[in-house]
């Protein structure tokens, strides 16, 4: 690492970032938009996402014949505004995925640190649990657990955490194993520093870049999985609008009102694409070596 080089001014750095990784910038813009939609949903929505109005059932988007600006992306079979439901749906997708990826990071990083730094029997047990967790078809495990525990926000976050922590654990363990043998860590240890201090001050800071990259990519994966669960009827229960359920509800009206299913699908895809752009860009910028490990 060229740590001696003088850092350029912030605007110059931003400009370099744009040039080096235009996709990451596009990703950041998309992600920013989705976050804004989620946070400012009450301001952005044109009507209450749960308001049913049976007089405007299955209205098409405004650019189609019979559509109106009042319901810019049309209405569903209960006359609910598709656009407003999309905007509110961003809240659920983001809340679950961000929280689950974060919780997964806390658990996974701790497990990976123990397994990598201490090793021993505890480390071996942790890695076997990782193997075990990886062996399950995750969506099946998530489905079974959600169906049995009951589908609500809290349970979904827990279940998604179960599907993500081991990715961190594996990568962190590998990196910690390598870091432990590096001279600077050996030097601090020779000086008599406690393990806790070595981990907190010297190992962890060197792991932030890969953890951040995994976190972004996991957020994207969890969004996809949450929407799949929701699509199968095991997401956050109605009347809360979720992208997955909107898509599922539109299935029965595919031929007459395709927009009910099309727009939530696009929303999921664009969001996930944006996060993947951002994650890939971050990976290239922060840690080219990580390419091989994730």
């Amino acid at each position: 690492m060229a740590s001696t080089q003088v850092l350029p001014s912030p605007p110059a750095r931003a400009l370099r970032l744009v040039r080096r990784s235009p996709l990451a910038v596009i990703g950041a813009l998309i992600v920013g938009l989705v976050i804004m939609a989620a946070v400012a949903a009450p301001l952005l929505a044109t009507s209450d996402p749960t308001d049913q109005d049976l007089t405007v059932v299955l209205k098409p988007p405004f650019w189609l014949e019979d559509g109106s600006v009042q319901h810019p992306l049309g209405t569903d079979h209960l006359g609910r505004d598709v656009y407003s439901r999309l905007v509110y749906g961003a809240q659920i997708s983001l809340t679950i995925s961000v929280l689950a990826a974060l919780l997964g990071a806390v658990v996974g990083v701790a497990a990976g640190l123990v397994a990598g730094y201490h090793g021993g029997r505890l480390g071996a047990i942790i890695m076997r649990i990782v193997d075990l967790n990886l062996a399950f078809p995750l969506i099946l495990l998530a489905l079974a657990v959600v169906a049995l525990l009951g589908a609500n926000l809290k349970n979904l976050v827990i279940v998604m955490t179960i599907t993500t922590w081991m990715i961190y654990a594996r990568v962190v363990r590998g990196l910690t194993l390598a870091l432990r043998e590096r001279e600077f860590v050996q030097a601090v240890r020779a000086l008599g520093a406690h393990d806790a201090r070595i981990i907190a001050r010297h190992v962890l800071p060197n792991l932030t870049a890969p953890i951040l990259v995994i976190w972004t990519l996991e957020v994207a994966r969890v969004i996809l999985m949450e929407s799949a669960l929701s699509f199968l009827g095991l997401g956050v229960p109605p009347p809360t609008p979720t992208w997955g359920r909107m898509l599922a509800e539109g299935r029965d009206y595919l031929t007459v009102a395709g927009w009910i299913s099309i727009f939530p699908g696009i929303a999921i895809m664009v969001t996930v694409l944006g996060i993947n752009f951002l994650g890939d860009g971050l990976r290239d910028l922060l840690d080219p070596q990580l390419r091989q490990q994730t």
């Binding site: 076997r128 075990l132 078809p137 657990v145 929407s227 595919l254 099309i262 664009v270 996930v272």
Partner: protein, 305 residues
């Protein structure tokens, strides 16, 4: 070599044991199984009798021991809904799921390898950009949404393919594509990365230096080495593919284990859920084991490490 295989086998056995614990625990996640399995109006006496009869009053460890002993013999109990032993019910649906997942895997590989090689050999060019664009899109598309859009287009609008069920080749196309898309994206990127690395190796330069045609260099020298990681990743992704099949089977009412399991989950048919989770997860463990051993065989360099 022997030691490696022995260690790998031991790990696999441990993981399968873990799988059995998780499958066993699934019954208890929602509280008392007796209350769920019995009709709503059951009396306390009835419940007590049921609990005693099915051994739910025994200590958990005893119950787990019994579950394991029966599971080893292929006995996961009788399906609450179908009134038959759950294992044969699942076994009968396995071929359909295997047909779907294997087709999807082959499809993903067949598409990803040329795409990844093209991207690597045209690194930085428009072809590379196109391939990576396809890969990123494929990585981000929700497979169930793609499935619905395909139905809308190829079945409803154009009437080219059947919307559901299992039959001839035409029935496999849409579900297989839907399952393959995410894997295809992942593999394309993988092939590109490894191919770029391999193409920088000395033996590739030697091949070119002695005047071999580029096609020969690529297909005979570079590609076989670039494909080694592909084997592992495809194996590791098998669980993911199965997961995809679960969702996609329900959309196309494909009569496989996925659809059956989802129905069992929604019906709280515990014996079937347990059996299915156990079998699918054990299948993934076995595939990973085979892939790991295959990997050592494919790449003798690993044997030393």
């Amino acid at each position: 070599m022997r030691a490696y295989i022995a260690a790998r086998l031991a790990t696999a056995v441990l993981v399968v044991l873990g799988v059995s614990i998780v499958s066993f625990c699934l019954t208890f996640l929602s509280g008392d199984p007796a209350e769920i399995m019995l009709p709503p109006g059951a009396t306390a006496e009835h419940i007590a009798k049921f609990r005693a009869e099915w051994g739910y009053d025994d200590p958990l460890l005893v119950q787990y021991g019994r579950f394991l002993r029966r599971a080893v013999q292929g006995d996961f109990g009788v399906s609450l809904r179908h009134g038959q032993s759950s294992l044969p019910l699942i076994a009968a649906r396995l071929p359909a799921t295997l047909q779907l997942t294997v087709t999807a895997m082959l499809l993903a590989i067949v598409l990803a390898v040329p795409l990844g090689v093209l991207a690597a050999t045209h690194r930085g060019g428009p072809l590379d950009l196109l391939a990576m664009g396809v890969a990123l899109l494929g990585q981000s598309i929700p497979n169930f949404w793609l499935a619905i859009m395909m139905i809308l287009l190829f079945a409803v609008s154009w009437g080219l393919l059947p919307t559901s069920g299992r039959g001839g080749l035409a029935h496999v196309v849409m579900p297989a594509v839907a399952i393959a898309i995410n894997l295809m994206a992942l593999l394309t990127r993988l092939v590109r990365t490894t191919m770029i690395e391999v193409l920088a190796e000395d033996y590739v330069r030697t091949g070119r230096g002695k005047g071999l045609r580029e096609v020969i260099v690529l297909t005979r020298h570079a590609l076989p080495n670039a494909l080694i990681p592909l084997v592992t990743v495809v194996g590791l992704q098998f669980g993911y593919i199965l997961g995809g099949a679960v969702v996609i089977e329900t959309i196309f009412t494909w009569p496989g284990v996925g659809l059956f399991t989802i129905q069992a989950i929604l019906n709280r048919d515990y014996p079937v859920v347990q059996a299915s989770v156990f079998i699918l997860a054990t299948g993934v463990v076995l595939i990973n084991l085979i892939v790991d051993l295959l990997y050592v065989w494919l790449d003798p360099r690993i044997r030393l490490g």
